[in-house]
């Protein structure tokens, strides 16, 4: 049986939480533990027989109040590789439109006795609120502009596999910082592991007090990218480029879009990342997105591994485990 050939588990992870609601509250050791576990999951995922039995018999519900393709399918594949029964619920199209509240939806679902809820919601704090009302484990798959912990973990795993470390690296996060949960989770995680984090963007897309989160703030790409090891681009929503936050797409691309000329300010071996989905020609040029320094496709693979690691870590806390 294939499971007999599974690689030896890494040193036992001491993950002391029933939920994964954010990077905030995790210790550096817990983060590293999850990354180590994810390394093993990469190996599993690269085999022909990709199944483990950690979640056999368990029910995982992906509850997405906001449309998502890649995160939802990534969680679905991760759960299935660990043996769980996975169900997707796109709530945007069902109960909520009939007027049901978040709590009512949670209580209804809870009555069906799932073991793990993976939740994305457009409101910051909604996932935590929901976690108080259910008896299963909850994973935050993105809550408003607050946190997206598995994205930060997969970014860290991708970086660590290429640079061998996180500590001491200069990481520049560029673009719409104000509306980005990816930026916040990455800032927390990278700082926890000792990276030097910068944020770059127009002042209109820079949230107040961001420097208090331990980042250096830049409003000019050349200065912010100088000497960077990692360049993380963020998606800019269309509705923010019409003069409200940014005058136009062409102006945004001219000053903040990552093309080869701007990337040249970073270290020669700098690596480019993007959480997707990309707006080519808005925040990133195709030549860079598809270029030799791009890790964008690899991030997707690491996404599945990291979500397997998180599910596995939480499985230890499931009742009767």
């Amino acid at each position: 049986m294939a499971l007999m050939n599974a690689p030896p588990l890494p040193p036992a992870v001491t993950f002391g939480h029933r939920h994964l609601l954010g990077i905030e509250g995790l210790t550096a050791a817990e983060i590293v533990g999850l990354l180590d576990l994810a390394e093993a999951a990469v190996e599993v995922s690269r085999k022909i027989e990709k199944k483990k039995a950690v979640l056999r018999g368990r029910t995982q519900v992906n509850l997405f109040f906001e449309p998502s393709t890649r995160t939802q399918s990534s969680f679905e594949i991760a759960g299935k590789r660990l043996g769980a029964d996975v169900m997707n619920m796109a709530v945007a199209a069902s109960a909520v439109s009939k007027g049901e509240t978040l709590i009512d939806t949670a209580m209804t679902l809870n009555a069906m006795r799932p073991d793990i809820l993976v939740v994305r919601h457009h409101a910051a704090g909604a996932v935590e609120l929901l976690s108080h009302k259910v008896s299963c484990s909850v994973i935050n798959a993105g809550d408003g502009a607050h946190e997206h912990p598995t994205q930060a973990l997969l970014d860290a795993l991708t970086i660590r596999r290429h640079k061998g470390k996180i500590a001491g690296l200069v990481v520049a996060i560029c673009g719409d910082i104000a509306h980005s949960r990816v930026a916040r989770s990455n800032i927390l995680l990278l700082n926890a592991l000792g990276a030097r984090v910068r944020v770059i963007g127009p002042s209109t897309l820079m949230p107040a007090g961001i420097e208090r989160m331990g980042v250096a703030v830049f409003s000019e790409m050349a200065a912010g990218l100088a000497g960077a090891d990692i360049v993380m681009m963020l998606r800019l929503q269309r509705e923010r480029m019409d003069g409200s936050f940014v005058p136009s797409v062409r102006e945004y691309f001219h000053f903040f879009g990552l093309d080869e000329a701007k990337l040249a300010a970073a270290k020669p071996d700098a690596l480019v990342m993007h959480p997707g989905p990309m707006n080519r020609g808005v925040e990133i040029d195709s030549a860079v997105a598809d270029g030799a320094q791009s890790l964008i496709r690899e991030q997707v693979e690491m996404g599945v591994a990291v979500r397997m690691a998180v599910l596995e870590a939480l499985a230890a806390h499931l009742p009767n485990a």
């Binding site: 127009p202 002042s203 209109t204 409003s219 000019e220 019409d242 003069g243 409200s244 936050f245 940014v246 005058p247 136009s248 062409r250 102006e251 001219h254 000053f255």
Partner: protein, 443 residues
């Protein structure tokens, strides 16, 4: 003064020596008799020390006879009819009026037809101005698209295309969130936002200063608060964002107090006043004379005196003409229905000299507000006579009297509030980059 040369007689590169001049250079706090030497389009020397300096070979030597040599005026607020209203003013006519008035650089407002909110239009103005005028023309671009007060324009690209500053011209951005984001975004580019502060709801159907004069005339008034609440709001937003803010035109004492407090707090806030508000008041409107209908409106005499005091103590940074050509089809109406605005390029200096002749302001302070400060705010190297600076300068006989005749103004529009006014101070000669663009010819 010994010069009778026509403008075209002087080659661009012929050096000029102005002897026996009263040299006024606010950049060095200088007001003294001396000499100004111009060569290769730049100031070589200006001051007492220049009198004994070596003269460039082949230089034209001018005996100024004690006349003032000062930096050319930098006028931060000029409406030109081009594009869209060429019957009121063209770059050619505005440029001639400017040169005759001692204005060597002017900033054009974006409220034209079409509105200057696109890089191609900024480029168009640059080319037209170069072709048509001898003075420097710097386009200000719209702050919001179509001057609609909603979406901000491409400030970064417009700036790269040559927009010197951003303003909605005669319009006020009423949405505080729009102003906040614009200030915030502009800060990244170091761009200056110049704002006409007049809350449209408080202005309402008002047409002149609110108070006794308006009541007696039966005209609807505009409270000072229409201006002050916007200036106060903007200053708080400038403090929040760190953006550079310039209140384009203030007209009353209480607005000046707000600006003074902001400056005392160290904010990057500046303000301007039109020469009209320095020299005229609401009583000048008299029997419904529409050439005195302005925005902001002429205020009370106390306000005018406050403007002069603010100029004297440096609280007011710049004086502008707010040159706004209007013709009979917009001005020959009942007062309430007439357009706002007055021409002013040619009378700016003569009117601004009034407080000097009254002993309220000295010449250094005056030219600081007319030339040096505006150049600093706009990031231009003109506005001073320091060695190495571009040779943009004027020769002014500040004691020569004249009477303003609207029909003789070079502007295509004749809507001056100074028709028949007795002025003291005549521009004798105007140089831009060492080239004479205007020389006074009596008669």
């Amino acid at each position: 003064m010994a010069t009778a040369a026509s403008p075209r007689a002087h080659g661009a590169d012929r050096p000029v020596v102005f002897d026996n001049a009263r040299v006024v250079d606010p950049s060095r706090d200088l007001d003294t008799m001396g000499t100004v030497i111009v060569a290769d389009r730049r100031i070589v020397a200006a001051g007492p020390e220049a009198a004994g300096a070596a003269r460039p070979a082949g230089a034209e030597v001018v005996d100024c006879g004690g006349a003032v040599v000062a930096p050319g005026i930098v006028d931060m607020r000029v409406f030109v009819g081009e594009p869209g209203a060429e019957h009121r003013e063209t770059f050619a006519s505005a440029g001639e009026a400017a040169a005759a008035g001692g204005v060597t650089a002017l900033v054009t407002m974006p409220d034209t037809d079409p509105v200057i909110d696109d890089i191609a239009l900024v480029d168009f103005i640059g080319r037209r101005a170069r072709d048509e005028t001898g003075v420097r023309v710097y386009p200000a671009a719209a702050l919001t698209k179509g001057l609609a007060g909603g979406a901000m324009t491409e400030l970064g690209l417009l700036r790269e295309a040559g927009a010197i500053a951003f303003t909605d011209g005669r319009r006020t951005v009423t949405n505080a969130a729009v102003m906040r984001r614009a200030l915030s975004y502009a800060r990244d580019f170091g761009a200056l936002i110049m704002h006409h502060a007049a809350d449209p709801a408080l202005v309402g159907n008002g047409v002149m200063n609110e108070g006794e004069a308006a009541t007696r005339l039966g005209l609807a008034g505009i409270p000072r608060e229409a201006e002050t609440v916007v200036v106060e709001r903007d200053i708080r937003l400038a403090a929040l964002t760190g953006g550079r803010y310039h209140a384009a035109l203030i007209s009353c004492a209480q607005s000046l107090d707000v600006v003074r407090r902001a400056k005392a707090a160290g904010l990057a806030v500046t303000c301007g006043v039109s020469v009209n508000h320095l020299t005229l008041n609401e009583n000048d409107i008299g029997p419904y004379r529409t050439f005195f209908k302005l925005s902001p409106p002429l205020r009370a005499e106390d306000d005018r005196r406050a403007m002069v005091a603010g100029l004297a103590d440096g609280s007011i940074d710049v004086i502008v003409s707010s040159h706004d050509p209007q013709d009979v089809d917009t001005k020959r109406h009942p007062f309430a229905e007439a357009a706002d605005g007055a021409v002013g390029l040619e009378t700016l200096l003569a009117a601004a000299l009034r407080p000097v002749h009254n002993g309220e302001v000295d010449l250094v302070t005056l030219f600081r507000a007319l030339a040096t400060r505006p150049a600093e705010l706009l990031g231009l190297e003109v506005g001073r006579l320091a060695p190495g600076a571009p040779a943009d300068l004027i020769v002014v006989d500040i004691d020569a009297p004249w009477v303003c005749d609207a029909e003789r103004l070079r502007s295509r529009s004749k809507n001056t509030p100074f028709e028949g006014a007795r002025f003291t101070g005549i521009v004798r000669r105007t140089l831009v980059a060492g080239r004479t663009v205007y020389a006074y010819a009596p008669g």
